[in-house]
Symmetry: D2
Subunit: 334 residues, 4 copies
């Protein structure tokens, strides 16, 4: 039984606590931490009782904590990550790894020096059945080399505080991770194209956007990011290969004949779409933690996402093709 | 140029006149006939001028008429068909061939005795692209022997004068012809199943119905006939074979994402669905008439449809499996 | 933590033991029983250790067993079921409930007399996402009353020992349970239609078959059962209602463009198709057992399935419409 | 009856002659011209007899020619177009209008000065059912303003003489015309992205390419051009609007269950895909010519396509965003 300590008891933190308590095999929540003690107490209740901390570092060093789940706000990640590495404890960290590429690099360097793979990043889409079917199909070799990927990331709508750079940091950040993972390649350069803005947007948000990413081997990716598309949470991915093209399937749903239409539902809730992925992600982390390994997104993936996101935000402003400049990938992550 | 005389100048007759005048190559309407002279005059106008008759027989014998298109009410077909055979003129006859199996047989006997294939029956669905794709696929042999066919014939709604036997005579009559044509087989027996009646029906109409037909070689066909299905004119056909199953395609239509749905339109108008089939049917008849042959549904098909329909109406009443008893198929039609 | 004893340690039994041990929350296997002690020992190993019995009754009465999972051969079910009812212990029983309708009735009577809902039957398809989406859609009332259901149950192939009655007992038994559950109705009568036999069958097996079932309220169900369809494990279900038609979705799978085709995979393995359903079924039973209730298929459902199956086998022979004659449904199961 | 003279009797010319002779209402081929007299003679035979010319200009001035169909090589178009304008005769000109933007402009100026709309350009895809369904849907206003268009233009393979600029001139030239027509807008700028090259290409051809086009109002279009995709002739178009997204339908085709797949055919022959469009295009031109109007692609469209193609070829080389610089659109074409 893996004893998990959870840092950050907001909505997402409580979701993870409930998940571990109700649906995950081989793990239990033994400690929770939040700067707001009331939040921590509430979260401990969901776990059916757990130690309560207001300081993440203290939780990390608790001997009743085998592994740490970090769900605090992004700016707070770096200190807890470094502390967990120091303590040699396995970590599941919700995205982003850190809010700056520099901090990501610090964490990466510390993990490399520790000599142990300790950190898994919360890019849950890698556990979605649809993407895995695509990755498996590519891996068969039957379709040859991937050349192009077309993606859409469409949300029904966003709040008025959502602005242009958040299209990168909060939305396309998923495709940044997924696309390089699907084809096992890193990024070379990016560009952003700004079409006519939908009437449903506001002055601080250019919506939709088309983000272009090129990998080092020359695979070209286009992502339509449209966060006020109104009609649903609509995620698509097509990989065009030398010997065939693969389009991700859609979730099982009845086809309905009514009102002169044959239709299938598009969900409007991303948590419905990725519910199973969240469960599989945490179960995999728990299983791997028990075995002393990390299979999911690594610290390198978190660093690469941060650098790529910075380049995309720069490209939103410049309208130019921007280079993605990283340190060389450490042997440790290959 | 084939000179066509049209008997019957109602809506369907006028449609055919317009079709021949505007869209068919190699034919023109030179004479029209209707018991209501005003109707005939109006129809002649659509043709851009044509001789006007109130007596079909006179039209048949007009030397300016090479071929005859019969679109009069069903009860009037038998006399004109026999007259046209006597005159040795080619005929396109809208369904039904005749209103009784006995009359169909009379016409069939006359045609056989004439020694010439003169009559094509208006089962236009044989010219629909979708059914032809299925027939072609079966013909490749790649899927082995057909064993089962599942069909639906759904209408959005029917008038209050539409009653239970009309489900056979006006609706499933199409599948009676199509299904035996698709697999090149005749019928052995039929049965009708009466499910719970939809709230949109009335006391004289059992709706929906499931009609079961067995061919001589043992292929079993089920046709869901649902004429108040409300949602659209929805025609489907699946042929289950030994080495694969073939489902008829749907007409080209955009897929639309809107209101949390991905949908495609289902037409509510059978004339929209079969518009191209009507054109192809008449063009084929014109081309064949010029060449002195008949490729489309024959007098035998009209006779078989009449006998099978009678058996189905009997089965609607009896709830039993009813035999389809025909004369032996003349060599002439093999 | 629910302590589960498993009776029957064949392939399916071991699957369930592995499932409970690895994927189910809140349960553990504490005892196993098999007439072959070696099988029981092997199964205990999968559970990571468990008491070993060669007598199901002894296992049932073990105080370390809270609930019993019966996966023995069908003929052995009746005694263990009666014993478990006597012991007042909750049971999950793989289908069939018993091999005869009489035995089913004995078990049903005993459960009714015990006054407690103790038995859940292993019709796992009720836990399949696709069927639940259909059931939920019907329940919205948006589509009006169900009138007709079209189902297919296609297997790629079966062994040479699979014969005509097994099409009922081993295959369509699933639709017998599902269809009445989907529309919350019991059966009135059944019929079987025997089409031309596929070349891939043998003298003891008429394949395919079309099974017709009518519910008490008049809903008509047709099930195409084709166990040598060669192309895949292909399960379909369409419910035609007064205000719309609902077709069950297909599992998420990539659409692949290759070799002049756009295709999606059809699985050939029913355990792949229903893997999640098996897990959900056992988890639900465990959760309910803890709460002292049964939500899944009941003893009544097992009895109804047995009587309906008997009528279908009779109908396979007679070619007639056969009545489904049951005792009146006890208040206890309403 | 419109008397048509055809200039250019190669394969495409003979196709058009056969089309007019066999399938088009209200037109006949009365004269043909080719620099190779043998070719002209052969073509005249297809028309069932026609005057034979080796000089296009002489044909244009033949009083038995009401309208001219130009199917000669592109470089020869400009002279015949200017001559036809001089003669005041209606023209159908296969694409390209002329091989240089300057020549296109000369023709455009001459047509404007003539005061009559005389020239229709052979962009047959505007007559394809699928694109028209999309255009009609946009025109309903139900989906709001178009913002983005995603297109694919995939060919199974091309000959070894097909090189990088031909991806613009021979392939994406269709999308250049279609996309601006679909949204009734002209182009502002273009860009070309060059992904990793498929193993099926050669040194003179970068394949695939992604062509980006921005309209004056800011609609952004991406076209995947992949001419050695191997799997089929695969044309797709999705228009993302403010209130919904519209994806072009696929041609009617059976869905086939076989070999663990459910598949539909993708044609490998563009002439199969656009057969009906070619017929509709010429029929429309004939109908319009009789009425003295032009409804199809105009001289302006030909000029705009030439200028946009030049910008795309420049962008293939530069890797930069290139402006599309045209003269102002004459009132005459609005």
């Amino acid at each position: 039984m893996l004893n998990v300590g959870v840092i950050g008891c907001g909505g997402m933190g409580r979701d993870h606590i409930q998940r571990i308590t109700e649906r995950i095999q081989g793990a239990q929540v033994t400690a929770v931490s939040d700067v707001f003690e009331e939040g921590a107490k509430k979260a401990a209740g969901i776990a059916g009782g757990a130690k309560i901390y207001t300081d993440g570092k203290a939780l990390i060093h608790d001997p009743d904590v085998d592994a740490v789940l970090i769900v605090s706000p992004g700016f707070a990640h770096v200190d807890d990550l470094l502390e967990a590495i120091k303590a040699g404890k396995r970590v599941f960290c919700e995205k982003p790894l850190c809010t700056t590429a520099d901090d990501c690099r610090k964490v990466m360097d510390a993990e490399v020096q520790s000599g142990k793979h300790l950190i898994q990043l919360g890019f849950m889409r890698r556990y979605h059945k649809g993407y895995n079917q695509i990755k498996d199909a590519i891996a068969t070799g039957e379709y040859g080399e991937p050349l192009i990927m077309h993606c859409t990331h469409r949300n029904p709508e966003v709040g008025t505080n959502y602005n242009t750079p958040m299209a990168v940091h909060d939305t396309v950040i998923h495709e940044i991770d997924l696309c390089h993972w699907l084809v096992d390649d890193d990024y070379d350069s990016v560009q952003v194209i700004m079409p006519k803005v939908t009437k449903y947007s506001h002055s601080e948000l250019k919506d939709p956007q088309i983000m272009l990413m090129r990998t080092k081997s020359g695979i070209c990716i286009d992502v339509e990011c449209f966060v006020n598309c109104k009609f649903g949470y609509d995620i698509n991915c097509e990989v065009v290969c030398e010997d065939g093209a693969l389009k991700m399937g859609t979730p099982m749903a009845p086809s309905v004949r009514k009102n002169a239409q044959c239709s299938t539902e598009i969900t409007t809730d991303c948590f419905v779409l990725f519910k199973d992925a969240y469960d599989a992600e945490i179960q995999n982390w728990v299983d791997c933690a028990a075995a002393g390994v990390i299979e999911g997104p690594s610290t390198w993936d978190g660093y690469l996402a941060a650098v790529t996101a910075d380049a995309l935000v720069k490209a939103q402003e410049s309208g130019e093709i921007e280079k993605v400049v990283t340190v060389e990938k450490p042997e440790f992550y290959k």
